[in-house]
């Protein structure tokens, strides 16, 4: 069960049970849908931007524990962060999920809980769905993003 416990850390299970920032933002500046065709996971991300910072962020959707917890942890981490920092976090998370070698940087804070996913290649997409949606929203894409 060891690798499994690495994957399903308490933080992940907790955020799956009680996702933070779950819901919609009525006057969102950006709304973007993400799909993971492999799982049928779907999420919608709502962002309220205030010039250079993420003023508010919420999400809706259904998916596996990894995708829900990743979305929840992401919203918690980026709320109030600058857009530059948020884009930097995207890169760090991406690196952590796909690269075995490095210790995840401290800036990731609680997001390091997602590190166990890299032992499960088929689940990396579950963890990265929210992040791809986020990047698309911040770079101004207005279409659906897909992990494929």
């Amino acid at each position: 069960m060891n690798e499994l416990q690495e994957l399903y850390r308490e933080v992940i299970l907790d955020h799956n049970r009680q996702p933070r920032n779950f819901g919609e933002i009525d006057d969102a500046d950006r709304v973007i849908d993400g799909v993971n065709p492999l799982c049928g996971d779907r999420m919608t991300l709502y962002l309220k931007l205030d010039g250079k910072t993420v003023e508010d962020v919420r999400f809706r959707g259904s998916g596996c524990a990894i995708s829900v917890a990743s979305s929840s942890l992401m919203t918690e981490r980026i709320k109030g962060a600058s857009i530059d920092e948020t884009m930097g976090l995207f890169e760090m998370v991406h690196e952590m999920l796909t690269n075995d070698a490095d210790e995840p940087p401290d800036e990731l804070e609680k997001l390091v809980a997602l590190a166990g996913v890299r032992e499960y290649p088929s689940r990396v997409k579950c963890a990265s769905l929210a992040w791809h949606a986020l990047r698309a929203a911040l770079t101004g894409a207005d279409h659906e993003v897909s992990t494929e």
């Binding site: 499994l4 399903y8 596996c64 088929s122 689940r123």
Partner: protein
């Protein structure tokens, strides 16, 4: 050519189904430190040693292109390829080897019928009748065709148990119905459809019938003449053969009238720049160099299945399904999806509060391979209001130990997510 058929038929049928497990080398391995409990045969079944050996022999000594070759290896390859066709014909009791077209699999078989026959049969206002429990491969090609010609795709609904609503079938089958396409055994639900009855009704209404037999082949002895279907599509990799090879059975009378669907080598008699004359059946539908080793492997799989006593096989699988259903249903928060009276050994389920993908990953940790997701049957998932299910599917080589291992894995999942 049919020497292999004769020898195998001469042996007594195998009734001790449990003894077959030893024929499958893949099942001897350990996964994550546990013996492998392979419960994903509905996606792809494992190959017995006989199939692996047949492919290896073909590739080692007889690898050459088929037809037209005058040298020894080409003759051997041609003989092996055509003898595989003959064994498949014999196995499904088709009237002639002209009726056995080798394809890449079920998907390609359905697409072949769709593109070659569909457009000639359908015009604006006509209908294609399918069911709510189809695999995407028996939905999307028809949908594309219907859009193209302005016809209508009509799905027959299913009941809460996952059975076809037969009253609705009768109602929706009309004089506008030109084609009836349905799955013999549902991959997502396990439901076995009353194929003969549906085929007879469709014929009475003047429709052509295409049956998706992908999931029926590993569980049932199919006799296409007894069924009287016009087309029957199946895949090698779901019946203990390799991937990349499948069959379209079609009645010769229909195949004869159908134009080729792909052009190229093998499917022609003569070519000049004004005109091409097409080859005879079944070659007219086999453009390009075929999957020779695949066909040989499928032939070996058919030989393997020919030796098995199917009543014994069905008894083995239904006892296993019953046992697994009981044990899985005991787990907290489980809901079984698909409870048809006539069911093949496919067990789809969801667990409250645990997404199917998490279930799949956790039981994999216990050495158990199950499939999770929508099983290429999104309308079925919508019908039951779930995004995905976990599916354990049982084949002739599975036993109660596999079920026990699944239960261990499921209990771990429930405990972790409790």
């Amino acid at each position: 050519m049919s020497a292999a058929v004769k020898t195998s038929a001469a042996l007594a049928p195998i009734t001790d189904i449990a003894s077959l497990r030893g024929d499958f080398p893949a099942l001897r391995q350990r996964v994550h430190g546990h013996p492998l409990a392979y419960l994903d045969s509905a996606a792809s079944s494992q190959c017995p040693q006989a199939v692996i050996d047949a492919i290896a022999r073909q590739q080692s000594l007889d690898h050459a292109n088929v037809h037209r070759g005058v040298h020894q290896l080409s003759e051997r390859a041609t003989l092996a390829y055509e003898s595989a066709r003959e064994r498949v014909r014999d196995y499904i009791n088709a009237a002639s080897e002209h009726e056995i077209v080798f394809t890449r699999g079920t998907t390609e078989s359905i697409n072949l019928v769709c593109s070659s026959l569909g457009g000639r049969l359908l015009s604006s206002g006509d209908e294609v009748l399918i069911t709510w429990m189809e695999h995407h491969s028996n939905i999307v090609p028809w949908q594309m065709l219907c859009e193209h010609v302005g016809a209508r795709l009509v799905p027959v609904p299913i009941t809460d148990a996952g059975e076809l609503d037969l009253e609705a079938f009768d109602r929706l089958l009309t004089d506008r119905t030109r084609i009836v396409a349905f799955v013999h055994v549902s991959n997502a639900l396990g439901t076995v459809n009353p194929a003969r009855e549906l085929i007879a009704k469709a014929h009475a209404a003047g429709a052509v019938v295409v049956v998706d037999g992908a999931q029926a082949m590993p569980h049932k002895r199919i006799d296409v003449r007894d069924l009287d279907c016009d087309f029957y599509a199946f895949s090698g990799h779901k019946m203990f053969g390799p991937t990349g090879i499948g069959v379209l059975y079609g009645k010769e009378r229909l195949l004869d009238t159908m134009p080729p669907w792909q052009g190229g080598g093998e499917m022609i008699l003569t070519v000049d720049f004004d005109r091409t004359t097409f080859n005879a059946l079944p070659y007219k539908f086999e453009a390009g160099t075929p999957n020779i080793a695949g066909a040989v492997g499928l032939g070996a799989a058919v030989d393997y299945l020919s030796r098995i006593d199917f009543p014994a096989l069905e008894a083995h699988e239904s006892a296993l399904l019953e046992h697994a259903t009981e044990r899985v249903a005991e787990i907290d928060g489980v809901r079984i999806v698909g409870t048809a009276a006539e069911k093949a050994s496919v067990l789809s389920f969801v667990i409250d509060g645990i997404h199917a993908h998490d279930v799949g990953t956790i039981v994999d940790g216990a050495g158990v391979a199950v499939r999770t997701g929508h099983h290429c049957a999104m309308p079925v998932m919508d019908r039951f209001g779930v995004p995905a299910t976990a599916r354990a599917s049982f084949a002739l080589y599975n036993n109660e130990d596999d079920v026990d291992q699944l239960i261990v894995g499921l209990r771990q999942a429930v405990e972790l997510f409790r």
